[in-house]
Structure formats: C-alpha cells, structure tokens
C-alpha cells in the first residue's frame, strides 16, 4: 500500500496533464476539439475559410452583449438569469417605437438604446423584487416569468397602436408582423463602422467595439463601490448585513443591470442581424446565451469577463461553421441538432457542478 503514490516531489507529467485538463474543463476541451475538427474539414474540403472566420466573428460580436448580460446576475448571487427575455422585450419595444416613428440612422439607433434602457430599468426592478420573494429558485422563476412575459407581450404586439405601414400586417392594417426588417433604419450600422478586411476576413469593427465597451463598463462597474458591494453580498449575505449592506437591494441592482444589458444587447443584435423578431421569438433567447457563458468556463456561482468572451467565440463559431461543413459531409442539416445538444447539454452539465468549489 505504501507505494500507492509516486513521490510528489516532482509532479509526474500525467498528473500535470490531468490537472490542466481539470483546469480547462472537459466540456470546454471537447467543444474546442470539435471546433478545430470542423475547421479541419472546412480546410480539407476547400471551403472559404475567410468568410467562415468572418461570420464567426460577426456572430460572436452580435451576441456578445446578450451573453454579457448574464454576468451581473451571477455576480449578484441571482444565478443564471433565465429571465433574459424580459430585458430582450424591453429592447424590442424600444426598437419598434423607433421604427414606428421612422427615426433612422444613428439617431434611430441611439433612440432605440435609450428607450430600451428606460424600459428595462423599471422592468428589472420589478423582476428583482420578484426574485427576492422567491429566493433559491431564481433560475426556475426566471424561466417561467420569461415565458409568461413573452406570451403577455404577444398580445401587446397585436393590440398596440402602431401605425407605420411597414410594420403592421398589410391586410388587417394593424398588429405588428412577426418579423420586422431594420433595413433602411439602422441595418448593419455598427457592423460597417470602420469595418476593414484582413486576409479576406471582414472585421465588424463597430459591433466589436460596442461589445468591448460594454465589457469595459461591466468590468469597471465591479470595481466601484456599488459593484464591490454587490459581489460581497453574493459572497456572504450575513457579512454584508454586518457591513451595513442590504443584500436584497444589491440583488435587485444586479438583476436590473442584467436586464438593462439584455435590452441594449438585443438592439445591437437587431442592428447586425437586420431583423426584429417579435411574438414567441424571445422565448428561448436565454438558453443560447447561458450556454455561451457556461462553455466559456463559468459556473452557476462564478463568472468572469474572460468566460463571456471565450464562450461566445467558441459557441458562435461552432454554430457558424457547423452548418456549411456538415452539409458538405452529410446530406441534410445537423447543425441545429448539434446546437441543441451542445446548448442544453452544457446547461445540464453546469447545473450538476453547482456544489463545486
């Protein structure tokens, strides 16, 4: 029995390998390997790598703020914010009001963002208040509330008095269409800003910059007094109370911040994607965002900006590359299937590791 273990004076290479694998996390490793394999096939079948990389980058930039929106909620101890659709809907309302008033260009984009934030603040406040009353079940409550709000808003989309003929159903003359285009309003405004080509890869500079700016704002916020307070209250609510911090208040602040970011995120998303998707479309918005963050290495209780960036890049790249590659190799489309397996598998995996650390 005495020789069960090698002397640990010098860590054997195998143990070192095991440790670094644990550090990275098996799922993240598998997904990275999968991505590399996809790119390998793409190269082998002589596909247009530059456009694949460019698209991956674009999709990552487009989705980035929506993933980032999850971060304050985790920092605040509310866990994974499955109530992301609440913020998304605030953003959509902001966009629709802008479109209805036919305000275009930078003014339009600015107005949409301003309206999105203005609506998301009270919505986040109410959502945070609700989460304080259902402590310990935030993820479930967030999911259900998201579903309920999306359904409630479907009535709003039909009944609200929007009149702009480009938005409403042509035959009925009222009620918003399911998909609205932003072309001619602020379609790709940020994507094209200062955009340039490197080795044939077009860089969506403006959208990337906005994502970077949002990351910087979040990062700096958690170095202010308010941000540190939020993180402390998450870490130990009783400690916080002894320091004169109300953890109920910090949780509401975190939820509000998360909701506001989601609202801004969907405006940036719509600008790049070119369309607003109404009715049930926001229903499942939270799941891919959550999967991104988790693939980045975050857990239910701990997440960093690095997790956001890496996760978004990894997950969005897979979605971008998988479709053309698989259609080369097999007949038919398995990329949607792969997306659902990776996305939901990742969420399940993270929940099983909840008690870690």
């Amino acid at each position: 029995m005495a020789d069960v273990v090698a002397p640990a004076d010098r860590t054997p290479p195998l143990v070192m390998l095991q440790e670094s694998i644990r550090e990275i996390g098996i799922p993240r490793l598998l997904i990275a390997v999968f991505l590399v394999a996809l790119f390998g096939i793409a190269v082998a079948t002589k596909m247009d790598i530059a456009s694949l990389v460019g698209d991956s980058l674009l999709r990552a930039a487009r989705n980035g703020i929506l993933v980032l929106a999850l971060l304050p909620a985790i920092q605040g101890g509310v866990g994974l914010n499955f109530g992301l659709p609440i913020g998304v809907i605030c953003g959509l309302v902001g966009c629709v009001i802008t479109l209805n008033a036919a305000v275009t260009g930078w003014t339009g984009l600015g107005l949409s963002v301003a309206l999105a934030i203005a609506l998301a603040i009270p919505a986040g406040l109410a959502y945070g208040w609700l989460l304080n009353r259902t402590r310990g079940q935030e993820m479930m409550v967030g999911t259900y509330l998201g579903f309920a709000v999306v359904s409630g808003m479907s009535i709003f989309w039909i009944a609200a008095p929007f009149t702009n003929p480009t938005l409403v159903w042509a035959i009925a003359g009222r009620g918003l269409r399911t998909t609205l285009t932003v072309s001619g309003v602020y379609d790709k405004l940020l994507d094209r800003l200062w955009s340039f080509n490197v080795l044939g890869v077009s860089i969506p500079t403006g959208t990337l910059l906005i994502f970077a700016l949002a990351c910087a704002v979040v990062g700096l916020f958690f170095r202010t007094r308010a941000g540190i307070t939020i993180a402390a209250a998450r870490s130990n609510p009783r400690f916080a109370r002894a320091a004169g911090i109300s953890d109920e208040r910090t949780r509401v602040q975190a939820t509000m911040f998360s909701t506001v970011l989601a609202a801004v995120g969907i405006v940036v998303f719509a600008q790049s994607y070119g369309f607003l998707q109404l009715y049930t479309a926001p229903l499942l918005m939270a799941f891919p965002a959550v999967a991104c963050l988790l693939i980045g290495g975050a857990s239910v209780t701990r997440a960093t900006l690095t997790h956001v960036v890496i996760g978004t890049l990894l997950f969005q790249s897979i979605l971008t590359v998988a479709l053309p590659v698989t259609s080369q190799v097999v007949q038919g489309d398995i990329s949607e299937t792969a997306r659902l397996i990776i996305q939901n598998g990742m969420i399940l995996y993270a929940l099983t590791r909840r008690s870690d650390r």
């Binding site: 273990v5 170095r223 308010a226 870490s235 130990n236 400690f239 109370r241 002894a242 320091a243 004169g244």
Partner: protein
C-alpha cells in the same frame, strides 16, 4: 487497562497537498480499551489525518498518501467513508449527521434496521422486509443507556438540545456491532461544560468496554482528564508523546506551539483617561434568538476594557449584536455624548463603532474572497475609502494598489500567516481568519471596538496573540473595548471590569480580581441573593 496488539496503527504517514507537506512521517497506535488523544494547533494536520483514516475522497483526489494504516493487523486504504465504516471505524462528527424529522431510534438504526421477512420479501428480496420497530427501540435503548442518555428513544430528533444530538451520534456508532474503533473529532466544541463532562465519562466507560478511541480536541484539560496516550502534532510532525500522568496543560501547550506559553500580563486597577463615556447603554433589549437580551444597562468608560461574561443562552452575545444593529434592538445608547441610532449597522459603523462577530465563518469573513478585499471591504462600503478620485461619487473605482498596500501592512502588523494578500480567506486557519476579522475592524479606525468570542475555535498559540493584540489596541491606540467571551480566564486577563449577564440582565459588574466564587455565583444568578453586588 488493556495493552494488547493495537486496534489501529499508523506507520510513517506522509501526505502532501500540491507539494505542501501537511503530514510528515506521523506514527501512532491506538490500543484497545484506551483513549488516544491527538492535539495540535489548527493546521497541524489533525483534520488531514482524520480524512485519511476515514477514506474521504479528498485524500485520493490529491494524490493519496504514503505510509501504512494498519487496522487490527490488516493494512488498509479506504476509498470511501462507507468502506471505513464497514471495516469497523465509527466516527462522531463535529457537525451532526442526523435526520431531524426522524425519531431517536430511527436515526440510530437508519439503514441497519432489524427486519421481519414477509411474503413479498420472500419473492422480491430482503429490501421489502418489514422493519422490526420493537427491536429498533430496544436496541436503541441499550445503546442510549451505554452513553448515559435518558431521552425517550421515540422522540423526534428535531427539538432536542445540541448536547443530546451529540450523544445520539455516539449511541449510533456504539450500536454498530462491528465497530471497534471510535473517532471523536472535536466532540465537545458544541457542548456546555456539564455536557462535556458527561461526554468524557461516556468515553471512559466505552474505553473500559474495550473500544479503542481516537480523540481529537482543542481542550487540553480534557485530554489530560481522559487520555491514556497523547500525541502532539505540530506542522504535520509528531513533536511529543507526553505521559498524561506526568505532564501539565502548560507543557502540552508549549509542545503544540513550539514556544513557552505566555500569560497575558496582569496589572491592577488602571487610571482611565476620563472624558465622556465611550458607551452609555440604558435598558437595551435585543431580540436575538437563543441569546435574548431583556434589559441591559451599563457604561463603558473611555479607554476602558469591559468584559461581558455569562452562561450560554443568557444574552451576553446579544448585547454587541444589538448595539451594531444586526438584530432588532430597543433602548437608549449614547456614544461619546451623541445618541447612537439602533437597528442601523451603517450608522453604527459611521459612529466609529466596529464589531468582530462571534460567528466568524457566518458573519465575519467572505470565505471565497481575498484577504485584501476582506480587510478593506467594510471601509470601502461604509466609509468610501480605498477609492480613486472621480468627478462623480458612483464612478469612483477601487484603488487596488492602496488596498494591497494596506493588506500588506496588516499582514505584517498582525502576523497573519498566509501566502499573500491574494489568498482566499477560506484557506486560512481559524486564528488567522480571526486576525483578518480584527484587521478589518481596525481598518475602520474605530474609537470603540466590540469583540465577541475573540478566541473561539482557535488554538492556544493564536489565542494569546489575539489577546495581546486586543490589549495593544486599547493601550496604544486608546480604543475602548467591549469584549464578550465564554472564557472567563481570558476576560480576567485583559478586562478592567467584567459584567455578568444572567437571564438577559446584568447580574453584577465585578472587578477583574474578584474571586472565582463571586464570578460563579453571579453567573448562576445568586450573587444578589447572597447580598454582595460589587462594582
């Protein structure tokens, strides 16, 4: 007592965590029918030893160990606690592993219930046999009698006092037929003094019945009272095996700490600087569950060290918690001439009052944050310090450099043993965690400091350093201190006066040199009856 072949023998056990050697060639043997005490400071390697013996997965996950564990002549290496239990090791934990809604007997017999076969079980297997409740009860009764607990075996565990639960745990281990070796891990930590005495008696009687007992504790007098052998650990090494009949508490303490134990200086009545009192408390009532304060009035003079003593549950703990606004409080408090608002922790901190809580792990620290943040956080939050300048208050960012410098200063000043200011507080020993708590309180630059149970759960060496520190805060920085403690000896070492809390009221305020008898009577609420209030 017996001294045949040992039940358990550890031979040259060495264990490392990531290159950090926490056990260095530890050997010891537990003979049947004896109690073997293992003592050592926090971080000496006691818990690692226990984890290893009990097959906790953490040992294997971090690369296993070297050396042999020999149980009744067989070399063993457990992969899980289940294996350890199956091999005849019984463990009495610090935290109870009992199901509150189940009765005492059900808890004792859980998963080992005697059963009666029936038709279904003959077809579908033993799992469907009916539990023999009668035998459950009688077996439990026997086990409970062996540990001297008279409680009804059919009562639910939920409402029972903490002490009873500890004995039920022991009864459960005793009831296991194969158990030959019992491990007690700090069993008296949660018990009152009389319960602890009872427990020690039970341990002795169990040893007399042939069990081998491994007893891990902080309380050295207990070790001397019951142990047949003693092993002293320091920094993962066996530094001594004193003969309990020929040694003293002080000698063991020296071995543990590695230097002669200090006695915090004693001096006579001091002249205080005068001026308005630091705290004038009138009719304070605090609604703290388990430590309710009915009506307490006292005065803490400027520059004074006032002790609060009393038995558990009488409310001494509630006083400081009430003053800091952590539990609902009523009454009038005047601090240095200005009224102090109650039920508002932030106002208390702004009034230059600071608090080191008795519940270190629960209230005192952010376990998963760095030392530097733990020290600076309250000052950042309540006083807006350690922040960069910015045009708008909410835009001010944390000044990481200042926080780091301050942490370095505190680590040096308080001798916090750590790898650096970025280390997470969870990884520190109890004494060092307590120093972090004190550092945070000092960072607030209070003029009045409330300290509750400053040395609870920390070892002898660290204890004295903490008391020295409190003393120097008072003497050198002129802080007024209100020290709440269950250990009268430590209050007598550092306080000017000691107030005794009895049933939520101040029973008496005694000078530090009052006799043991006076303190004893005051704590029992009988000093008035004897007609001798002082102070």
């Amino acid at each position: 007592m017996a001294s045949d072949a040992p039940i358990l023998e550890l031979r040259d056990i060495t264990k490392e965590y990531y290159g950090n050697r926490v056990l260095k060639g530890v050997s010891l043997a537990v003979r049947p029918g004896t109690i073997h005490g293992v003592v050592g400071e926090n971080g000496a390697g006691k818990s690692t030893l226990m984890n290893l013996l009990f097959g906790m997965p953490v040992i294997r996950d971090t690369g296993g160990y070297r050396g042999d564990v020999v149980l009744e002549g067989r070399t063993v290496s457990f992969r899980s606690p289940e294996e350890a239990m199956a091999s005849g090791i019984g463990m009495v934990h610090q935290e109870f592993m009992l199901i509150p809604g189940f009765t005492v007997a059900e808890n004792i017999k859980l998963n080992r219930e005697p059963t009666i076969p029936n038709l279904m079980s003959r077809i579908a297997g033993r799992k469907l046999e009916i539990v023999d409740r009668k035998r459950c009860g009688s077996d439990s009764r026997v086990a409970l009698d062996r540990v001297g607990l008279t409680v009804d075996e059919w009562l639910p565990v939920a409402g029972l006092p903490v002490g009873h639960k500890q004995f039920i745990e022991i009864a459960r281990e005793v009831d296991k037929n194969n158990v030959r070796l019992l491990i007690f891990d700090e069993p008296t930590a949660v018990l009152t003094e009389s319960e602890a005495d009872q427990l020690l008696k039970v341990m002795k009687s169990l040893a007399a019945k042939g069990f081998g007992i491994l007893f891990i504790t902080h309380r050295l007098d207990e070790v001397l009272a019951v142990c047949d052998d003693i092993t002293v650990l320091r920094d993962g090494e066996v530094v001594g095996r004193p003969d309990p009949k020929a040694t003293t508490v002080i000698r063991i303490a020296e071995l543990m700490v590695g230097r002669p134990a200090l006695v915090v200086g004693a001096e006579g009545v001091r002249h205080l600087p005068g001026g308005p009192p630091a705290l004038e408390v009138r009719d304070l009532a605090v609604d703290m569950p388990g430590e309710r304060v009915e009506s307490v009035s006292f005065t803490l003079a400027a520059g004074e060290v006032l002790g609060l003593a009393g038995l558990a549950g009488h409310g001494k703990i509630g006083v400081a918690n009430g003053l800091m606004g952590l539990f609902p409080a009523r009454g009038t408090v005047v601090k240095h001439g200005a009224p102090l608002p109650l039920n508002d922790p932030r106002a208390a901190i702004r009034a230059r009052l600071a608090f080191v809580s008795e519940d270190r792990r629960g209230v005192g620290i952010l376990p998963d944050e760095s030392i530097e943040l733990n020290i600076a956080l309250t000052a950042i939050e309540a006083q807006g310090r350690f922040l960069h300048a910015a045009p708008l208050e909410p835009l001010r960012l944390m000044n990481g450099g200042a926080v780091r410098r301050h942490a370095h200063e505190m680590i040096r000043a308080l001798d916090i043993r750590c790898t650096g200011p970025r280390q997470h507080v969870r990884r520190l020993s109890g004494g060092n965690q307590q120093k972090v708590c004190l550092a945070r309180a000092m960072t607030l630059e209070p003029d009045t400091l409330l300290v509750s149970e400053p040395t609870r759960g920390i070892d002898v060496g660290a204890k004295e350093r903490v008391l020295e520190l409190l003393r120097s805060l008072n003497r050198e920085r002129g802080m007024s201190l209100l020290v709440t403690s269950s250990e009268l000896a430590e209050l007598r070492a550092i306080c000017d006066r000691i107030a005794i809390v009895y049933h939520g009221r101040i029973e008496a305020v005694l000078p530090r040199d009052a006799t043991d008898a006076e303190f004893g009577l005051a704590m029992a609420g009988e000093l008035h009856a004897m007609g001798g209030q002082r102070g």
